[in-house]
């Protein structure tokens, strides 16, 4: 319609061509301009044909119209020249073409055609010439092609409709003439006039016939072009389906359908229009037909072809827009859990429907179940059909949205289960693929179809712990299956080519933490999977991916655990590229070797599930660089302390040195605080003047080692409590406590735990040994102490016996120690040869305890506010032995006193101790060398391992100038066990309470002036259950290849229901 307008908007070079075109033309441009719309609307080509009366009619219409325009007031005086030109043109045209209007028609037809050609050139040139939008997505070339073809299709369709209208006119004329002039039955052959009329009639019929063939040819052409369009759209849809499949796997892909919907609708609309035109042609044939009527043979042919094309298009256009997924796991669709809600949505991209026709959509699950033995059958609860209401949401399109669906397994579903054939068992649940089929009863313009489409196969699980392996199946299927409906896929799962797998794995990271895997990451993974030489042809078998694993878990389980860790705790760090992540030990050394001391990197553990660790490099004065790594942190640790904070506060305790943070520069060489500063958690600002009930707490992580470079591997969690209520127990650890087990234990007196009693300790492999003693008054026989090994290398002793050892009126002297016999340690060691047991003694406020650690034990005494602890370390084997084997152990003692805490640390020979006193703390380190006056005899299962008094040990004194230690407190006398604790504590309270200058230099946040109140009043109820326990499920596996420092993993998780530690007022006298 607007051809002339488009022509005028052409670039100058093309406009020039238009001017040239009209320069020599008999039709002046003024006329073209004046009657643009009318001229474009006529079928000149048709009129140009010989014998056509149409040409004359058009010619005279044009002259008449020109005359009208000349007389119209619109052309006022201001357009005098134009008026003049038009008048002249009219005269010229009349003179030239009066006799041969066909020539004129042909002229105009050719002019219009030439215009279109120039227009095409100009538009194509314009696209090529103008710089394409830089943001133009790839494939937009095809997009433009489709748009252009759609436009051409519609233009051709309009042309065909015009031709058709012309045909109608011709037929009416003919029909009229025929009825008037044709008089059969009468013999008028001799009448010349009649013969002439019949001849004219014959000529009219010829024209009519030609016109009919013309329309048919146009329709053939239209259908041919629409086939190409259909092909294009199908390709685009195929590309979309691929994108959707990839998006299901977590790939960043554009899965919008709006463009496709527009295209499909436009093409569908055009084809339906064509169908109607075809029917109208059929009607014409009903009115007039003759021998060899082309309509008779060709309209059915065209209609067949068109219907087939339309059906095919509609069938394709019915797509699953949203694959079935549960609402809370939308990043991992296609895994459904029985009895959990899920949703799925199908869409008909051809947005055409009959408002009077109810369209019903239905869903079916496993309509054609595969013949697999034991294949479970499911029912869809909730309604499985839905009526698409016309006009529901015209702009939203035709959508079958099924929400709140749930699945239920049929009772006799696994009928084949009983008769399991040998070697041909049913597929495991997570490899069983199910399909949902959507059907839609479609009707429009007389075309009735049953459309159907299927979802991608999904896995149905009944328990969340199947989720990870179900997702592995979905990954494998969508990565490798050529047939999107192949439910037999896992009967012979194909291996995955590494490049494809690498891409899919990267998407997993991208979707979880918005950063995919780098080339280096993938190289490391490939090396892990294929050995040292990964090649592009390498393939990985399904079982190797998801089932077998040398380390007790499969590759996928390992990777998915890392994904879980990222998602929960490390998302931001990963996203920002601070985690190097997948680095082999070899590569790690290569990277760090050339870096300065203290350069570290963060990588994932290869030996434990979901672990992350730091490795740093040290360059000793002589010798090769050393690489240190800390035992991997898992979600359990990171839940209480974020990785950036761990890195910030990480302390390495070195003999004769101030504890230091070895993590200085993030690889390659970013200063630690610069790299992680933005991620540090905000330290709580305290107010000194304000009376606070509790000190703030801050968790830090430390490791210690001896000066002689033989690595002492231990990491401790130290908690200065802000709020004792946070010192709660891991619920997981409690369920397995066996309180009755030690009922016969006789901790009274300095006698050790009888080695035999350790039989009831039930160490479950590597575990934490937790000793808990709770005894009112004195540590009496029968007082329940629980030893619960749950984590390798951890021995945790908890004494919550307020009365015990309390020098008071009762004057229990000397303090009765709780001794842990060496049998315990031995037991731990027997399981894992190179295990280094750690001992953590935590004294809760008001508790007092003496801890003796047997040989091979590493002990930590931790005294919480108000607590008093005596840790006695008994010397173990001699140094030589310790260094000989990996199992050798150097006892390490860490005593940390938090404010108001008092502690006595006794270190046995061969041991080394660190005393760290936090502000307000009071500490004494008593090295016991030879003189065993205070040293308690350790009962050992194996006396040979217990040589006493071997060496003198240099005590590690409280470091001078440690900013957190007020100088005033340093001089305090060590408190003997028999001293009046109450007095001392009271005096401390008095000193602390004013908040005077004495406390300057303290971190205000760490003050807890109220802590001592609890001492006076006895153990408050809020302290009940306050102890740190290990999570029993914490798998601290030995780290042969990590060679890392075992990390303590005592965590304070939220669970206030530790029954054993419930202490009520009756416990105190």
């Amino acid at each position: 319609m607007a051809q002339w307008q488009e022509v005028q908007s052409l670039a100058n070079a093309y406009l020039e061509q238009v001017h040239q075109l009209y320069a020599g033309a008999a039709l002046p441009m003024a006329v073209r301009q004046c009657l643009a719309a009318w001229i474009e609307d006529q079928n000149w080509r048709q009129a140009a044909e010989p014998l056509s009366s149409h040409a004359r009619m058009l010619f005279h219409s044009l002259l008449a119209l020109l005359g009208e325009r000349l007389g119209s007031p619109g052309l006022g005086d201001e357009d005098f020249m134009l008026k003049h030109n038009l008048r002249k043109a009219r005269r010229d045209l009349q003179a030239e073409f009066e006799e041969c209007p066909e020539k004129f028609a042909n002229l105009v037809a050719n002019l219009l055609q030439e215009e279109r050609r120039i227009l095409r050139l100009g538009q194509a040139g314009g696209q090529g010439g103008a710089a394409p939008a830089p943001s133009a997505p790839p494939g937009s070339d095809r997009e433009q092609q489709i748009q252009r073809r759609l436009a051409e299709f519609h233009a051709a369709l309009q042309e065909a409709e015009r031709t058709f209208r012309h045909l109608e006119d011709l037929q009416d004329t003919f029909d009229f003439c025929f009825k008037v002039h044709y008089l059969p039955g009468e013999d008028r052959a001799s009448d010349p006039q009649y013969t002439q009329q019949i001849q004219a009639l014959q000529a009219k019929l010829q024209i009519l016939d030609r016109q009919r063939r013309e329309v048919l040819a146009q329709m053939q052409q239209l259908l041919g072009r629409s086939e190409t369009l259909r092909d294009f759209l199908q390709q685009e849809l195929g590309a979309w389906q691929e994108r959707q499949q990839r998006a299901c796997l977590g790939a960043p892909a554009d899965t919008r359908l709006c463009l496709l919907e527009t295209w499909f609708t436009e093409l569908g609309q055009g084809l339906f229009q064509l169908l109607q035109l075809l029917r109208a042609l059929g009607d014409l044939r009903q009115k007039v037909t003759y021998e060899r009527d082309p309509l008779k043979a060709e309209t059915p042919l065209l209609e067949q072809r068109l219907r087939e094309l339309l059906s095919y298009l509609l069938q394709r256009a019915f797509v699953v827009e949203q694959q079935p997924s549960m609402p809370n796991t939308c990043k991992r669709p296609l895994v459904l859990r029985t009895a959990s809600k899920f949703s799925a949505r199908a869409r008909l991209l051809v947005r055409l429907h009959d408002r009077n026709h109810r369209m019903e959509a239905k869903i079916h699950i496993d309509r054609d179940p595969p013949k697999i033995k034991g294949f479970r059958k499911f029912n869809i609860l909730t309604s499985s059909s839905k009526t698409l209401l016309a006009g529901d949401s015209p702009q939203d399109g035709l959508v079958c949205d099924f929400q709140y669906l749930t699945l239920k397994e049929q009772k006799d579903s696994r009928s084949g289960k009983g008769s399991k054939g040998a070697g041909e068992g049913p597929l495991v649940v997570t490899e069983e693929l199910h399909l949902i089929t959507f059907t839609l009863a479609y009707a429009y313009c007389g075309l009735e179809l049953e459309l159907e489409t299927s979802t991608l196969p999904f896995v149905i699980i009944s328990n969340n712990n199947q989720f990870s392996s179900a997702w592995a199946s979905i990954l494998w299927f969508n990565m490798l299956s050529g047939d999107p409906k192949d439910q037999h896929f896992f009967s012979v799962p194909p291996p995955a080519p590494w490049p494809r797998l690498a891409e899919v794995l990267s998407w997993q990271f991208e979707s979880v933490a918005e950063r995919g895997l780098s080339k280096e990451h993938l190289l490391m993974l490939a090396e892990k999977l294929f050995g040292s030489k990964p090649s592009l042809e390498s393939t990985l078998a399904w079982s190797k991916f998801s089932k077998d694993g040398a380390s007790g878990f499969s590759f996928w389980a390992w990777l998915d655990a890392i994904l879980g860790l990222l998602q929960e705790h490390l998302k931001q760090l990963w996203k920002d590229g601070l985690i190097l992540g997948f680095v082999s030990r070899k590569q790690e050394k290569k990277l760090l070797k050339g870096k300065r001391t203290g350069t570290f990197l963060i990588r994932f553990s290869e030996s434990i599930l979901g672990g992350v660790t730091c490795t740093w490099v040290e360059h000793p004065e002589s010798g090769p660089p050393a690489f240190r790594a800390v035992v991997p942190y898992t979600a359990a640790e990171l839940a209480s302390l974020a990785l950036p904070d761990i890195i910030r506060d990480y302390q390495l305790l070195v003999e004769e040195n101030i504890p230091e943070n070895p993590l200085l520069f993030l690889y390659p060489d970013t200063a630690r605080d610069e790299a992680f500063g933005p991620y540090y958690s905000h330290r709580q600002e305290g107010n000194l003047t304000e009376q606070k009930k509790y000190l703030n707490q801050r968790l830090i992580r430390v490791s210690s080692r001896q000066a002689n470079e033989s690595w002492q591997t231990e990491e401790e969690l130290v908690a200065a409590t802000e709020n004792l209520e946070t010192l709660q127990l891991q619920p997981g650890g409690l369920g397995t406590l066996q309180p009755g087990g030690l009922g016969t234990q006789q901790p009274g007196g300095p006698s050790p735990l009888p080695p035999g009693s350790s039989g009831t300790l039930q160490p479950r492999g590597p575990g934490t040994l937790q000793v808990m003693a709770r005894s009112p008054g004195t540590l009496q026989p029968g007082s329940p102490a629980v030893l619960q090994p749950s984590s390798p290398g951890m021995l945790q002793v908890m004494v919550t016996s307020p009365g015990m050892l309390q020098p008071g009126p009762q004057g229990l002297e000397p303090p009765r120690p709780l001794q842990v016999g060496s049998g315990v340690s031995e037991m731990l060691q027997s399981g894992i040869g190179d295990l280094e047991p750690q001992l953590v003694l935590q004294l809760v406020p008001e508790g007092q305890g003496t801890l003796q650690v047997g040989p091979g034990g590493v002990g930590t005494l931790q005294v919480l506010p108000g607590g008093l602890g005596v840790l006695q370390q008994v010397g173990p084997e001699d140094q030589g032995t310790q260094q000989a084997g990996p199992g050798a152990v150097e006892p390490q003692l860490v005593l940390q006193l938090v404010p108001e805490g008092q502690g006595t640390l006794q270190v046995g020979p061969g041991g080394s101790g660190t005393l760290q006193v936090l502000p307000g703390g009071l500490g004494t380190l008593q090295p016991v060398a030879g003189d065993t006056g205070i040293l308690q005899q350790v009962g050992a299962g194996d006396a040979g391992l217990l040589p006493l008094v071997l060496e003198t040990v240099e005590p590690l004194l409280v470091p001078e100038g440690q900013e957190t230690l007020p100088p005033e407190l340093r001089g305090l006398e060590p408190l003997p066990g028999s001293a009046d604790m109450r007095d001392l504590l009271q005096s401390l309270v008095e000193e602390l309470e004013p908040g005077s200058g004495m406390l300057e230099g303290l971190e205000p946040a760490e003050l807890m002036p109220d802590a001592l109140e609890a001492t006076d009043e006895g153990l408050g109820p809020e302290l009940a259950g306050s102890a740190a326990l290990l999570d029993a499920s914490d798998p601290f596996l030995p780290q042969p290849e990590d060679a890392a420092l075992p990390a303590a993993s005592s965590l304070f998780a939220a669970a206030a229901d530790f029954p054993l530690l419930h202490i009520d007022a009756n416990d105190f006298q």
């Binding site: 080509r45 140009a48 042909n106 037809a109 050719n110 050609r117 092609q145 051709a156 030609r210 063939r213 013309e214 048919l216 040819a217 146009q218 053939q220 052409q221 259908l223 041919g224 072009r225 086939e227 190409t228 092909d231 294009f232 060899r292 082309p294 043979a297 060709e298 059915p300 042919l301 067949q304 072809r305 087939e308 094309l309 095919y312």
Partner: protein, 323 residues
């Protein structure tokens, strides 16, 4: 534009498509323009090459969108090529070509025409018992390629069809032939070797299947064909019987596709032709002509789910100009 349509003058879509393929071929029109014009009007009316030339002139001079081949159609009807009859394009092509050849009076033109279109092959029959061999040279106008193999499996590509066509066949059991040397019926190996390929090579895809006795059905499955075809890459050494010069010239590019839509009983032909002067593809649907692209041509590969759509039936390849 240089492409002019031909009006349908009575189920003449097949004829129209073939005429377009002839007349768009400049090598053919080069010969056609040199024919001797018959002296008398009656002869003129009955001379097919002359009528074709007239039609060509009309198409080229007029600024018409399409011309009517009615005179040529009348001329052909003299030779029992009637209007209002459905033709098989391959068959009509053969008939037309033979008429043209026969009515060209000049022997050198006949020679040129043959040279332009005929394929030379050598048929070999060798006895499997005594290796007695008979050879026979023959010429063909089209390569009639089956689209199914002997076990009725669909062949995947045009190249596969060609390979299958030139694949030796064993004649055993009731197909055995009489061997003069052995004096009895023996199993034979029948093979065909390619000797010469013409400038204009016509390939006939045997999409109409006569398998089930009287019932003829159309095979509309997907069968892609390339734009560029190198016979040396398709055929093996012993499937050819040609010197290196000849073989070096066996580089072809697609010139035209005659496509059929519809069923066996009722169908429509159209032609996709790449203009040799403009190097652009056109689609000729009787009087309707439009410029198309290779994508449109590719749509005639066929589709296993669409039986009424356009499928390539004749493929006309043109020898590439010697580099």
């Amino acid at each position: 534009t240089g492409a002019i349509g031909l009006y349908n003058v009575g189920q003449s879509c097949c004829l129209n498509s073939l005429l377009q393929v002839f007349l768009m071929n400049i090598h053919f029109t080069g010969i056609l323009r040199r024919i001797t014009v018959p002296p008398r009007a009656a002869q003129k009316r009955r001379n097919v090459p002359y009528q074709m030339l007239l039609l060509l002139e009309e198409m080229q001079c007029g600024k018409q969108k399409a011309v009517s081949p009615i005179d040529l159609a009348c001329c052909l009807s003299v030779y029992r090529v009637k209007l209002f009859v459905q033709y098989d394009a391959a068959q009509l092509f053969l008939t037309l070509w033979n008429l043209i050849k026969r009515q060209m009076k000049k022997p050198e033109l006949v020679e040129e025409l043959s040279c332009l279109y005929t394929i030379c092959v050598q048929e070999h029959l060798s006895c499997q018992k005594c290796s007695f061999e008979t050879k026979r040279n023959s010429s063909m106008l089209t390569l009639p390629l089956p689209v199914l193999n002997s076990s009725s499996h669909m062949l995947k590509t045009l190249e596969d069809c060609l390979q299958y066509f030139f694949h030796p066949e064993e004649l055993t059991d009731h197909n055995m032939c009489f061997c003069e040397q052995c004096g009895k019926k023996t199993p034979f190996l029948q093979s065909m070797k390619l000797v010469r390929l013409p400038q204009t090579l016509t390939i006939h895809l045997k999409r109409f299947c006569f398998e089930k006795s009287a019932y003829i059905h159309k095979l509309s499955h997907y069968l892609p064909f390339p734009q560029d075809l190198d016979f040396n890459a398709v055929l093996t050494e012993n499937q050819c019987q040609a010197d290196d010069n000849e073989k070096a010239a066996w580089q072809y590019e697609l010139f035209a596709v005659v496509a059929h839509s519809g069923s066996t009983s009722c169908g429509h032909y159209c032609a996709y032709i790449r203009s040799l002067t403009e190097c652009k593809w056109y689609c000729f649907n009787d009087s309707e002509v439009c410029q198309v692209s290779w994508d449109d041509v590719k749509c005639t590969y066929g589709h296993s789910n669409l039986h009424w759509g356009e499928t390539a039936y004749l493929l006309i390849y043109m020898k590439k100009r010697h580099q």
